[in-house]
């Protein structure tokens, strides 16, 4: 595993910014969506979709592809942006996001959207479903990996830990779960609503290899994923420390922006802060 060049880091940093701008425009246009958790996951999604994942946009059902489950399905905007920018469908198709006839649902739908490996949106299921995909890979003797992006809020639900026990029992080292640890959920801070700490100790005690990274540092994420890929004999959790609403000053660390939609003025300000020209769309 070689480190990324500074050009690659710069390129992926640009992708992350692009995904943030796309996500905000999509949510603004539809008048619905979850901006905070989309922005917190932008670098993670950029590294996964533009570096790590073995995927082919021309063959979304390719059997040997790596699988990606967006367990925190509310962040659909950043997934749709990543899939579009990666070439699974044209970004312009998302102009109709939310329309009855659209291929893109509010939350990801595996039957409608090319590149979506599993329907999600109702929280907590990614880890346990990922166990099944990882077991299937083992049974078929295929070397694809299953990546799951979970939120900290959804980690308050029991099904996450049922899945965690299952992955450890079956020693699923082809399952890599990334925790987008932004510490903000709908009603406030995770540490107030229902604290997760000591979260690393919990996953370690459940039998997982735990790796820490800075969820807004491309190189840190990429290096953590490389360590994850070389781990043997146990499932892997990457704790990616992130900031909810990252990149937009008034959204950062503010639970209001979990599920609210920016108005025209707020969108312009957000895009300006992200360094993008404001357009009329």
């Amino acid at each position: 595993m070689t480190d990324m060049t500074s050009e690659q880091v710069e390129q992926l940093t640009g992708v992350a910014t692009q995904l943030r701008c796309d996500s905000l425009r999509l949510i603004h246009r539809r008048g619905a969506g979850h901006p905070g958790g989309a922005l917190s996951a932008a670098e993670i999604m950029a590294v996964l979709y533009f570096d790590t994942l073995r995927i082919d946009p021309t063959k979304p059902d390719w059997e040997a592809r790596d699988r990606f489950l967006l367990s925190k399905g509310h962040a659909s905007a950043v997934l749709y942006s990543a899939l579009a920018r990666r070439g699974f469908f044209p970004l312009t198709e998302l102009d109709n996001w939310g329309e009855v006839e659209c291929r893109h649902q509010g939350h990801p739908d595996r039957l409608k959207t090319p590149g979506v490996d599993m329907t999600s949106g109702i929280l907590g299921h990614g880890v346990a479903i990922g166990c099944g995909l990882a077991l299937a890979a083992r049974l078929k003797k295929q070397d694809y990996r299953t990546y799951v992006l979970i939120g900290d809020g959804e980690s308050q639900g029991g099904i996450v830990w049922e899945g965690a026990m299952t992955a450890a029992k079956f020693k699923l080292d082809n399952l890599i779960v990334i925790l987008d640890y932004n510490d903000v959920q709908l009603d406030g801070f995770v540490h107030d609503i229902m604290p997760l700490e000591p979260v690393a100790d919990k996953w370690t005690a459940f039998g997982w290899q735990v790796i820490h990274c800075d969820g807004h540092d491309i190189r840190s994420i990429q290096q953590a994923l490389a360590v994850a890929q070389s781990t043997k004999g146990k499932p892997i959790l990457l704790i990616a420390k992130t900031i909810k609403g990252k990149g937009v000053s008034f959204m950062e660390n503010n639970s209001y922006w979990h599920g609210n939609v920016p108005n025209d003025h707020q969108l312009s300000q957000a895009l300006a802060e992200l360094g993008q020209e404001v357009t009329d769309d």
Binding site: E63, R67, D109, R110, L111, D117, M118, T119, I122, H125, A128, I129, G130, C131, G132, L133, A134, L135, A136, A137, L139, K140, T146, G158, I159, E162, G163, M165, T166, K169, F170
Partner: protein, 315 residues
Amino acid sequence: MTEISMREGYAKALVELAEQNQKIVALDVDTAASTLSKFFAERHPDRFFNVGIAEPCMLDVAVGLALGGYIPFVNGFAALISLRALEQVRTNVCYAQTNVKIAASYAGLSDFKDGATHYAFTDLANMRALPNLTVIIPADATEAAAWVPIIAEHKGPVYLRISRAPALPVYQPGTRLKIGRGLVLREGSDVTLVATGAMTGRCLQAADQLDGQGVKARVLELHTLKPIDTDIILKAAEETGALVTAEEHSIIGGLGSAVAETLSEACPTPLARVGIPDHFCPTGRDLDKLMDACGLSINDIVKAANRSMRQKSRR
């Protein structure tokens, strides 16, 4: 009874199918010795996954296996699968259309020693309301076994309702089973007894009793609750003019409701429902006696038939 239990019939058939089809995998929730998926575990240990007492997790892991190209059969108690894991069944199985087969054992009152906590008497109501789900209720052990290869071949989610116990033998080996197609087990022109599951054998016996009164009762087996066989119901309504439904389930939401919906929209016809009344049933020492005590006796079916025919004669 010399009949084998429905669970045994199912479990042995699954082992046999897995010999031929490498895509079959099975899961359980620490009930393998009860559902008898232990036969599968012993024969195909590499394709068997016990996730502990965690029905929601079992369903999600099965969803992942289905996404990976396998045909998972999940095994557990019907009451717990249909309640604890209903979110998984609705969203990750039915909405996402994953090819998961749900073998819901200990259905109805068949876990008679454990009582109300373990009775599955609302599962059909829960499952019947879900889009994309096929709901199958075998009448006896032989029929349960016969369904296994059929539902494995069927593309899409299936709920297969399995009793812990033997049932009165009904199924004639060789009878062709087709999803969504009910069976006429006995011809008759005065009243139709529409049965499902373990109540099917009881309906045949009720028909014998009615015959003694000079009443010719038709007996239909609706092994598929969803999609329901509308044609066979409406034909019976037109030709016999009075119906009875009989199910080992609450009178709310199951077969009786499904038949009532069908009739009232297309051909309003007198109907009497035999099922578990709207309350929790007690523990029993013996399943047959418990069923008798809970409104599911052969006599209850006969009385319902007479009620339905009286309504017909008043029309």
